[in-house]
């Protein structure tokens, strides 16, 4: 059985799923992730599913499970890079991801996590500095 690697970057964990997920590997991932968050004390988890082409209801539920799991360790979860076909499938299956945040790509996902953790620390982040001026 293939195991999904969990990488630590700064104070967040990156889970990049590059294999065809089977129920066994999903369960193993959940266990590994819980272990990892508790040992590293990470404040955020990014799940990159840009390589995932096929989902079923079990995998759909995985995201919500991981989110509530990391919530217990006070970590936020962001799912990034979902393909259109996967999104349509999940909607057709009637699955919602609970309070999981989503982002278009890894870059934006990390930005979302950073602004979330910054907000939690009570800091203000200068994210909205790119103002465009239109004369009319």
């Amino acid at each position: 059985m293939d195991r999904v690697p969990i990488l630590k970057i700064g104070d967040m964990l990156l889970v990049s799923i590059q294999i065809d997920l089977q129920d066994q590997s999903v369960l193993a991932l959940q266990e590994d992730l819980a272990e990892k968050i508790s040992t590293t004390g990470a404040s955020g988890v990014v799940i990159d599913i840009s390589a995932v082409e096929i989902v079923d209801s079990f995998i759909g539920r995985m995201f919500a499970t991981i989110a509530s799991l990391s919530k217990l360790f006070d970590a936020e979860t962001v799912v990034v890079g979902m393909r259109p076909a996967v999104a349509i499938t999940l909607v057709e299956l009637g699955l919602t991801l609970g309070d999981v945040r989503t982002a278009l790509d890894l870059d934006r996902g990390i930005a979302v996590l950073q602004s979330l953790t910054a907000r939690r620390r009570g800091e203000s982040v200068g994210q909205d500095d790119e103002s465009v001026r239109v004369t009319g």
Partner: protein, 285 residues
Amino acid sequence: MVAESGQPHRLAEVLDAERDRLIGRWTELAGSALRGRLTTVELERDLRDLYGALLPVVTLDAELNQAESADLKAQLADLSRSRARQGFSPTETASSVFALKQAVSELTAKDDSPETFREVLAFSALLDTLGLWTFETYAAAREELIKEQSEQLLELTTPVVKLWEGVLAVPLVGTLDSARTQVVMEKLLEALVETGSEHAIIDITGVLAVDTQVAQHLLKTVVAARLMGAECIISGIRPQIAQTIVALGIEFGDITTKATLADALRHTLQREGVVVSRGARDRTR
């Protein structure tokens, strides 16, 4: 030529012997109905081909399911299709076929033996079937054309346009059905990934009616976009449609809806942190 009963088929013999005279008369009769829109040479070539395919099936029954008639059917289908393309009505095509009846009856008018009569009757039944077959082919060709066009329409009527850096819009026009919404959904989601846009506006100003099914489709699209990490706004809800939506008890939940596309764009720009301000007007111009 010999019929299945072993008796010589007299009509078939006549048709074979008088081939040129019959084709000439047939062309004349068919040509008068077409009122000169097809040259006599062209028409005669078409009819001669048809005649050649028709001869071997004369001795058979009027039912056209035998292997021998496959060639004839194919030729008729070709004829019908090309006539349809040239703008002839199906009646005109069919009456070209029926014209042979008159040509044959003129030829056999003097022969009043019951045998010939029966054969001519069977022959005209055969021609009736062939005429109907041209109708069928005509309708099938039309159906094909309509299907092709509606597919093209589906592609054409769902453009995804970029309004701003990171803001896409889909102006929907016409009626929404499942097939169309599916196309819209797929195209929009693909475009979100391709352009890396975080905002999408679905403008339904041009949508004639919204019922529960259409609303359901719209909701699905919005939820799918949200799953991918993009925000989707619905704009251009007209007063009548708003009333219908409320009357039907459709819940849009926490999905942002705006009255006009401009409002929706303003909302997304605000979310993006873009400030649009009116500059000092250049009065020297």
